[in-house]
């Protein structure tokens, strides 16, 4: 069974105005293979082309060039209903003049399915979603979470090969969002269908995706599983986008000092200097005296120096945010802050001198010109 695999090849979307003149290109020749049964998340800032890509897979947006294949069928010129997809929209897009039952049954009615079959399918699905008591109500009488569940149900009854989600949780309040997140994840493990999920929220992306496709300006920045994406970002954009707080990215250069290599931040004051030892040393040596971006995750900065591969950074505390379990400490750096995620044992105070230790093996270096990672 490979019916639910989605292959996107050299996909381009150029929007046109009323006269058919090209205005702007939202998707720029992207390639993406989604495996059968995979939960693929498309994530990126607004305007990155993620929703456009999804709408082209759905068949709601004409493809400018390239191909989209679902299973082994090229679906470029196929009607949405024939593609074996179902879609959940950000604003639910329920039919306000129809009851919940009819909202869920609409697709089956149009497909001229038997009445008994429709009734049975809708009843079963609504029960699973806890909607069976409100089938006669209109969408207006439902809460936001219930409405989105109806939209989910409407997608499920179509029994599609591929589920498409267009920021389905963005209009829900924070608590409901967390709940629906796990509900959709559970749905995926129960049904085992391919799901393509668009979001701008990197937390949703990290928690839900089997793999994540990070997009920016119509291009794919990186496709990887959550941990790879987090640990081995391919470029500056992914490093800065994934993670909360994001990776610390310091601009500077590599210099030789006291016989060893050091990274020195380019700045007027508070410039941070990090000795480069261990695994990173040979790599750094290749870029001696060159401009570089030094990247380190907040949690790889600690107060103590338990392990051998840790090097000290001396600075002062700018702001501290105690969260209870841990503290986010914003240290003064040349440009902006160096954020450290430190234990929550003690409180830190503004202006307090603090030496943190970098787990130097986890440091990532980027080329500031190409913005690509240096390996």
């Amino acid at each position: 069974m490979n019916d639910g695999a989605v292959h996107i090849t050299d996909l381009v979307k150029t929007y046109t105005d009323d006269r058919g003149r090209p205005t702007f290109t939202a998707v720029k020749k992207i390639n993406l293979a989604v495996e059968n049964g995979e939960f693929m998340v498309l994530v990126g800032p607004s305007g990155c082309g993620k929703t456009t890509t999804l709408r082209m897979v759905a068949g709601l947006e004409k493809i400018s060039s390239g191909t989209i294949a679902i299973g082994d069928r090229v679906v470029n010129d196929m009607e949405p209903k024939d593609r074996g997809i179902a879609m959940v929209f950000q604003n639910y897009a329920l039919y306000p003049h129809m009851s919940i039952f009819n909202n869920m049954a609409f697709g089956l009615q149009l497909a001229k399915k038997k009445k008994d079959f429709i009734k049975e399918t809708v009843t079963r699905t609504s029960k699973a979603l806890g909607l069976d008591v409100m089938l006669e109500r209109k969408p207006q009488a439902l809460s936001g979470g219930q409405r989105q569940r109806v939209a989910l149900g409407r997608a499920i009854v179509r029994n599609p090969q591929v589920f498409l989600f267009d920021e389905p949780l963005s209009n829900l309040d924070a608590k409901m969002r967390v709940q629906m997140r796990s509900e959709i994840s559970r749905l995926h493990s129960q049904l085992g269908n391919t799901m393509i999920y668009v979001t701008h929220d990197q937390v949703e992306a990290m928690t839900m995706g089997d793999r994540i496709c990070v997009m920016k300006d119509g291009l794919i920045m990186q496709v990887a599983d959550p941990l790879t994406l987090y640990r081995q970002p391919e470029n500056l954009f992914v490093a800065g986008f994934i993670g909360s707080p994001p990776m610390n990215l310091l601009k500077g250069k590599i210099a030789r000092k006291d016989g060893g290599l050091v990274f020195t931040e380019t700045a007027e004051q508070n410039a941070i200097t990090v000795p480069l030892k261990g695994l990173i040393e040979p790599l750094a040596a290749k870029h001696l005296d060159k401009a570089i971006v030094f990247g380190v995750r907040p949690e790889h900065l600690t107060e103590g120096s338990e392990n051998g591969s840790r090097v000290p950074i001396a600075s002062t505390v700018d702001i501290a945010e105690p969260m209870g379990s841990e503290s986010l400490v914003y240290l003064k750096a040349g440009t902006g802050n160096l954020i450290a995620r430190i234990h929550g044992e003690t409180l830190f105070h503004m202006g307090q001198p603090l030496t943190v230790y970098v787990n130097i093996d986890k440091v990532v270096l980027f080329d500031p010109e190409t913005e690509a990672v240096i390996r």
Partner: protein, 300 residues
């Protein structure tokens, strides 16, 4: 303090009563004129018992009634109209109802195209419609006459003196309706139709089964406005329909006010009668004009 409140209330109510009177008094005058013996223009708010008569209403409804020929001998004669004004009333109903449905059909589909489809000169055409709307239809009357005359030579059922011809002209004045309906469509999330298309609806089905039911209020409004304006439309109808038999209400009513013989009583009865279909239509459409019909489907 109490006094000031009372004074304020009295002032407020006087203003309200005065504005009501401004509307109701002329109406009452017309009603009374339709029940007053003889053909007097609406002018009084009181009829003495011997002034009352149903003759005008009988005339309007085409029921023969006796008219005093000679007051001295008391000689009477049973009279009635050659063409009952009721006929004009039915003509108007027919023309207005058909034309209103036609207007809804045309302006609804046109509005859909302007709201949802992309085509060349879309913006310019929309602006053009607005500009056209600024010229009263009367200005084009002679042109319409020539056109209908010409069409009538080839299709007699669509020429001068036909209802079809009049309806054809009425259908041409829909640009403001297109704007109104388009404005309403613009407030409905396109995700609705996207969703319907994924559910397997064709563009046409998405239009008829999703967009149209959600737009019932605006269609009711357009229907009522068209209906009312056509019931009372005079210039076009008077030019197109020239035979007494197929006059519309407004044209027929005006013909009662001949230069030499102003039949104010008949006219008043007909005027009151013409309010009936408008009121009925309004009550029928009112249940569609409700807010919140589109709420709950999409959250923006």
């Amino acid at each position: 303090m109490w006094n000031r409140l009372l004074i304020r209330k009295i002032i407020a109510h006087s203003v309200l009563i005065a504005s009501c009177a401004l509307i109701l008094i002329p109406f009452a005058m017309v009603v009374l004129a339709s029940f007053r013996k003889g053909n007097f223009p609406p002018s009084t708010l009181w009829l003495s018992p011997e002034q009352w008569t149903l003759d005008h209403w009988k005339y309007v409804l085409g029921i023969p009634y006796s008219e005093v020929l000679n007051a001295a001998t008391g000689e009477t004669k049973l009279v009635g109209p050659t063409v009952a004004p009721l006929r004009w009333f039915l003509n108007s109903l027919l023309v207005s109802a058909i034309a209103s449905f036609g207007i809804i059909l045309l302006s609804g589909t046109a509005a859909y195209a302007f709201a949802r489809l992309k085509f060349r000169f879309r913006g310019q055409i929309l602006t053009g419609l607005l500009v056209l709307q600024m010229f009263p239809q009367v200005l084009t009357l002679t042109a319409y006459y020539r056109i209908l005359n010409y069409i009538g030579e080839h299709f007699p059922w669509l020429g001068i003196n036909t209802f079809a011809g009049l309806i054809l002209i009425y259908l041409s004045g829909i640009s403001i309706n297109i704007w109104m309906i388009k404005g309403y469509f613009d407030t409905i999330s396109p995700a609705m139709e996207d969703s319907a298309r994924i559910d397997g609806a064709s563009r046409f089905q998405a239009f008829t089964r999703i967009l149209l039911p959600m737009s019932a209020p605006i269609f009711a409004v357009v229907f009522i406005l068209s209906f009312i304006s056509m019931i009372s439309e005079y210039p076009t109808a008077s030019v197109v329909l020239q035979e007494s038999v197929n006059r519309t209400l407004a044209v027929g009513a005006y013909s009662l006010l001949d230069e030499h013989e102003k039949l104010w009583g008949h006219f008043s009865a007909l005027a009151v009668l013409s309010g009936v279909p408008i009121t009925i239509m309004f009550l029928l459409c009112q249940r569609f004009i409700i807010g919140g019909l589109t709420s709950g489907g999409a959250k923006e």
